[in-house]
C-alpha cells in the first residue's frame, strides 16, 4: 500500500509600505502597506483560497474520507485573513471539521528564527500552536519549518518539543541514491519521523503544470496518476508538498489546474494499492527505514535548495542581523505590541525580496516582490528598522527613569544593539 500525502503551504506576509522613506524615520510608526496587503489577500482569496477550499471540501465529501490533505497556515496569514477575508478562515474550519484535513505546526511569523535564536524559534512555534488551537480546535503533531528549512539541530529542537514528525525537502544532496518515498529519521533523533518532499512530482504540479514547452504539457490527472502509480512496490509514501497558491494564483484557473485537481483523487484511487494520507497518518502507518543527516540547512527554495534565497548577500545578512540584535531589548521591554511588531519584521519574505542572485533575469523573486529592486527592499526595510530602534530607545529611556523594581542597576541591552545609548 502506498500513501499519497498532500501538504499545502498557505502564507502571506505583512508587506511594508513602499513609501517608507528616510523622512518618515522617527515620525511615522505605521510600517505596513495595509492597502496592498488587503488587496492581495482579496485577490488570492478569490483566485485560490475560496474556489480551492470549496473544491477540496466537495472532493472530500465525494470520496467519503478517502481523499485527505494537510495544510500549514502561517500565523501572519491567519491574522490577515481574520482582518480582510474572515470567510476564508471559516472555509478552512469547515475543511478541518471533516476530519480529513490535518493542520501542521510552524512558526507564527513564517520567520528564520530557527537559524538565529532557538529561544525565539520555540516561542513562535508556541504562538502558532495557540492560534491553531483557537481557530481550528486542533493540536498539530507534525512540524514544518519556514520554507522547509531543516537541519539536524532543528530536528533536535522539534523532537524535544514532543512532535511526532517533521517535514523537509527531499534534496538530492541529502538523499543521494535513496528514495524520498519512504519515512526517515533525522540523524540525531530517536523518535521523530521525517517526511521528504518528492520534488519531481510536486514540481510537476507546482511549477511545470502550465509550461507549454514541457513535453508533458498539457498534464492530465490520468497521466500524473500513472506516474504516481509507477512507484508501486518501490515506496511507501509520495509526498506532494507545495504552496497552496499554486492553485489559481501561480497556475491560473485557465490552465486547467482546478479540473486537474478535481479529477486527481479518482485517478489515484483507481489503483487498489494507493490511498491518501495526511502526515500524522503516514507516521502511524510506516516506520522510518533509516537515518538521514542534515549537517547544513536545506530548504525547498529555488534550484539551490539552500538558504541563499534569504541569506548570503550583504544587504540580506546585514538586515537580518540587525533585526535579531534587537531581541534582548524588545523582550526586556515586555510590551506585547512591540514584540509583535518586531516579530512581523522577521518574516522571511522581507529577506527574499533582497535576493540579488538572479536579479538581472527578473525571475520568480521579482514576481513575488512588491519592490522594483532588491535594493529598494533593503532601503525600505532598514528605514523601518531605524524608526523601530528609535521607538525602542525612547521606551528604554522612559523605563530607566522609573525606579527599577528589584533595586540594583541593570546592564542596558542597548549595548547589544547596533547603536549605543
Amino acid at each position: 500500500m502506498t500513501s499519497v500525502c498532500f501538504y499545502f503551504q498557505v502564507h502571506q506576509p505583512f508587506r511594508l509600505r513602499k513609501d517608507y522613506d528616510f523622512f518618515k524615520i522617527g515620525s511615522e510608526h505605521h510600517y505596513e502597506d495595509d492597502y496592498a496587503n488587503a488587496t492581495i489577500m482579496e485577490k488570492v482569496a478569490n483566485k485560490c483560497y475560496r474556489p480551492m477550499n470549496q473544491l477540496l471540501l466537495e472532493e472530500i465529501h465525494r470520496w467519503k474520507g478517502e481523499f485527505r490533505v494537510s495544510f500549514s497556515i502561517s500565523g501572519v496569514c491567519l491574522e490577515q485573513m481574520e482582518r480582510w477575508a474572515p470567510d476564508v478562515i471559516e472555509s478552512f474550519q469547515r475543511l478541518v471539521d471533516t476530519g480529513c484535513v490535518e493542520i501542521l505546526s510552524e512558526t507564527y511569523y513564517h520567520s528564520l528564527a530557527s537559524l538565529f535564536s532557538p529561544e525565539e524559534f520555540v516561542a513562535q512555534i508556541r504562538l502558532h500552536r495557540q492560534k491553531v488551537r483557537d481557530l481550528f480546535d486542533y493540536e498539530p503533531v507534525v512540524f514544518r519549518n519556514t520554507e522547509l528549512i531543516f537541519q539536524n539541530r532543528i530536528g533536535e529542537i522539534i523532537e524535544e518539543l514532543g512532535y511526532r514528525g517533521v517535514i523537509a525537502e527531499g534534496a538530492d544532496r541529502i538523499l543521494d541514491w535513496r528514495s524520498p518515498n519512504f519515512l526517515y529519521q533525522p540523524a540525531p533523533c530517536r523518535k521523530l519521523a521525517l517526511l521528504l518532499k518528492n520534488y519531481r512530482l510536486s514540481d510537476d504540479i507546482a511549477f511545470r503544470f502550465s509550461n507549454r514547452g514541457w513535453e508533458a504539457w498539457p498534464l492530465h490527472a490520468e497521466t500524473f496518476a500513472r506516474w504516481v502509480h509507477q512507484t508501486a512496490g518501490n515506496g511507501e509514501v509520495i509526498n506532494l508538498f507545495m504552496d497552496y497558491e499554486t492553485f489559481g494564483e501561480h497556475q491560473w484557473a485557465d490552465t486547467g489546474i482546478f479540473e486537474f485537481m478535481r479529477a486527481l483523487p479518482g485517478e489515484v484511487l483507481m489503483h487498489p494499492d494507493f490511498s491518501f494520507a495526511t502526515p500524522r497518518e503516514v507516521i502511524d502507518r510506516y516506520q522510518p527505514i533509516g537515518k538521514l543527516s542534515f549537517p547544513e540547512p536545506v530548504s525547498w527554495a529555488d534550484v539551490d535548495r539552500d538558504l541563499t534565497a534569504w541569506l548570503g548577500n550583504s544587504i540580506q545578512d546585514s538586515s537580518i542581523e540587525r533585526i535579531f540584535r534587537l531581541e534582548g531589548v524588545v523582550k526586556s521591554l515586555g510590551d506585547p505590541d512591540l514584540l509583535h511588531a518586531w516579530r512581523k519584521l522577521q518574516t522571511s519574505d522581507h529577506f527574499y525580496y533582497m535576493c540579488i542572485k538572479w536579479f538581472a533575469d527578473g525571475d520568480v523573486h521579482k514576481y513575488f516582490s512588491p519592490y522594483e529592486s532588491p535594493y529598494d527592499a533593503h532601503v525600505i526595510y532598514n528605514n523601518v528598522l531605524s524608526d523601530f530602534e528609535e521607538i525602542l530607545l525612547h521606551r528604554w529611556r522612559m523605563r530607566n527613569e522609573a525606579p527599577v523594581p528589584n533595586g540594583g542597576p541593570r546592564r542596558s541591552p542597548l549595548l547589544d544593539m547596533a547603536f549605543v545609548d
Binding site: 523622512f23 548577500n313 550583504s314 546585514s318 538586515s319 535594493y375 533593503h378 532601503v379 528598522l385
Partner: protein
C-alpha cells in the same frame, strides 16, 4: 540686447545644476531689461516664465514656412561632423546611453524606485541633438536676435546652425565637460562636439577657473577666448526651516548628487564609516541616484552601517530643501566638478559645507572648507570637527553668509552682458 539662448533642461525638469543655472541667468537677464528667447527641446507647462520668452523645438518646427529649405548638408557636416564618426562599439554605446537614461519622478510623488534616475536624456540622444540643430537653423530665419548663447554640448550644433544662417556671434557656455562626467574616459563623439562647438564660438564661458584650465589643457582652446563666470545661487527657500524638525537627535551629514563616478559617493561613504567607528551618534544620508547606487547600498550593508547611513534615492525641489534644512553638515566629495551648485544651496539653510578641492565651488570658499576627495581620514576628522566645535561652526557660518551674499544671478547677468558687448558689433 536680444539674446537667443539654447538650453537642454529647465526647471522643474532638471537632472542637475544645468537647468537651475539656465533659469537663474535667463530670469535675471530679463529682469535687467534684456530680451531673451530661451529654446529647449521640450517646453513644458509649469516651467516658470518670468519676463522672457520660452519656446520648444516643436514650436519652432511648426512655425517654419514650407518654402524654407532644410539645414544644408554642408552645414550638417560642419556642425555635427561627429555624426560621421564611425560607430562606437555597441557595448560602449550602451554604457554611454545608460548614463543618460531614466525616468523623471514627479515632485511630491515618491520615485518608483530608489534606482530611478533623474535625467531626461533619452536613448537616441545624438538624434535629438541633430534634430535640435535643425531647429537652430529654422529659428535663425524666424527670429531677430543679436547674440546666440548656448549651454553645453547638446545645444552647440543648434547654436552653430543659427550662427551659420544669421551671422550673429555665438557664446559657448561650459557647465561640465565630458572629462568631468566620465572621469577621464571621454566619449570621443561628445568630446568632438564640445571641441568643435568651442572652436566655432566667438567666446567661451567657463563656470570656474578649474573648468577653464580643462578647456585649455584638454581641448586646446585659446585662453584669451575664455571668460570665467561663477554660477550664483537662488536665495529663495522652498521650505521654512523653522517648520522642519529632525525627528532624531543624531547629527546629520548629507551628500546630495548623482551617485556616479564623477561625484565620488564612495569617498563620502567610507569617511562616514570612519566617523561611525568612534562616533556612533551621527547619521548620514546619500541623496541621489545613479549607476553606483547598488554598489553603495551593498557597501553600507557590508560595513554594517546601514543603521546610520541612509539612502533617499533621487529627490527634487522642496524634498531636497527639506533635507538641507535638517542637515548639520553638507559634504561634496566630487572627483571632478566644474562648479557644483549644491553646497551653496545647502548654505542657504545655514548648513556648514565641506567641498572637495576638485570642485569649482571651492574657488569661492576658504581653504578650511576644502578636502581632497580621496582623503578619507582627513574628511572624517573634518566632519567631526565641523559638527562638534561650536566656535568653528559659528565662524564657518559667518564666512558662508558673506560668500552667499556676494553670489547673485544679477551679478552673473551683468558679467554675461559685458561678454555679449565684446562680441556684438557696434
Amino acid at each position: 540686447m536680444r539674446i537667443l539662448m539654447f538650453g537642454w533642461e529647465f526647471p522643474p525638469f532638471i537632472s542637475g545644476g544645468l537647468g537651475t543655472a539656465c533659469y537663474g541667468m535667463t530670469r535675471h537677464l530679463a529682469e535687467s531689461g534684456e530680451e531673451v528667447l530661451f529654446v529647449l527641446p521640450k517646453a513644458i507647462e509649469g516651467m516658470p516664465r518670468e519676463g522672457y520668452q520660452m519656446m520648444s523645438a516643436e514650436e519652432v518646427w511648426r512655425k517654419r514656412s514650407d518654402d524654407d529649405f532644410p539645414l544644408p548638408e554642408q552645414v550638417t557636416v560642419l556642425t555635427v561632423e561627429t555624426a560621421l564618426y564611425p560607430y562606437i562599439e555597441n557595448k560602449e554605446y550602451a554604457r554611454m546611453i545608460q548614463r543618460f537614461e531614466g525616468a523623471i519622478p514627479r515632485e511630491g510623488k515618491p520615485a518608483p524606485s530608489i534606482m530611478s534616475l533623474s535625467g531626461h536624456y533619452s536613448h537616441n540622444l545624438f538624434e535629438e541633438v541633430q534634430r535640435f540643430a535643425e531647429v537652430g537653423w529654422h529659428l535663425a530665419q524666424q527670429s531677430e536676435f543679436d547674440v546666440i548663447h548656448a549651454h553645453d554640448w547638446m545645444t552647440f550644433p543648434a547654436a552653430m546652425a543659427a550662427k551659420k544662417r544669421s551671422g550673429k556671434p555665438f557664446i559657448a557656455h561650459i557647465h561640465a565637460t565630458e572629462y568631468d562626467r566620465t572621469g577621464d574616459h571621454p566619449n570621443p563623439k561628445i568630446f568632438q562636439l564640445e571641441k568643435i562647438g568651442m572652436e566655432h564660438a566667438d567666446r567661451v564661458v567657463a563656470v570656474s577657473h578649474r573648468t577653464k584650465k580643462t578647456l585649455i589643457d584638454r581641448y586646446h582652446i585659446d585662453a584669451s577666448k575664455i571668460d570665467v563666470v561663477h554660477n550664483a545661487v537662488s536665495h529663495d527657500k522652498l521650505v521654512d526651516p523653522l517648520l522642519i524638525k529632525k525627528s532624531f537627535k543624531e547629527k546629520l551629514i548629507i551628500f546630495v548628487g548623482r551617485v556616479t563616478l564623477q561625484k565620488g559617493p564612495e569617498y563620502f561613504l567610507r569617511a562616514a564609516a570612519k566617523v561611525l567607528e568612534t562616533h556612533p551618534n551621527y547619521r548620514f544620508v546619500m541623496c541621489g541616484a545613479g549607476d553606483m547606487l547598488p554598489r553603495m547600498i551593498e557597501e553600507a550593508a557590508t560595513l554594517r552601517i546601514q543603521n546610520r547611513f541612509h539612502f533617499t534615492g533621487f529627490l527634487r525641489g522642496a524634498a531636497v530643501d527639506r533635507l538641507y534644512s535638517m542637515a548639520d553638515l553638507f559634504v561634496m566629495t566630487s572627483v571632478s566638478e566644474p562648479f557644483g551648485l549644491t553646497p551653496f544651496e545647502a548654505m542657504r539653510y545655514e548648513v556648514p559645507v565641506i567641498v572637495s578641492k576638485q570642485a569649482g565651488a571651492s574657488e569661492l570658499l576658504p581653504r578650511s572648507m576644502h578636502v581632497d576627495f580621496w582623503d578619507r581620514d582627513g574628511l572624517a576628522k573634518m566632519m567631526i570637527e565641523f559638527c562638534e566645535n561650536r566656535q568653528l561652526h559659528k565662524s564657518l557660518l559667518e564666512h558662508q553668509k558673506t560668500t552667499l551674499s556676494k553670489m547673485s544671478w544679477r551679478t552673473v547677468a551683468e558679467q554675461l552682458k559685458t561678454i555679449y558687448r565684446k562680441v556684438i558689433p557696434v
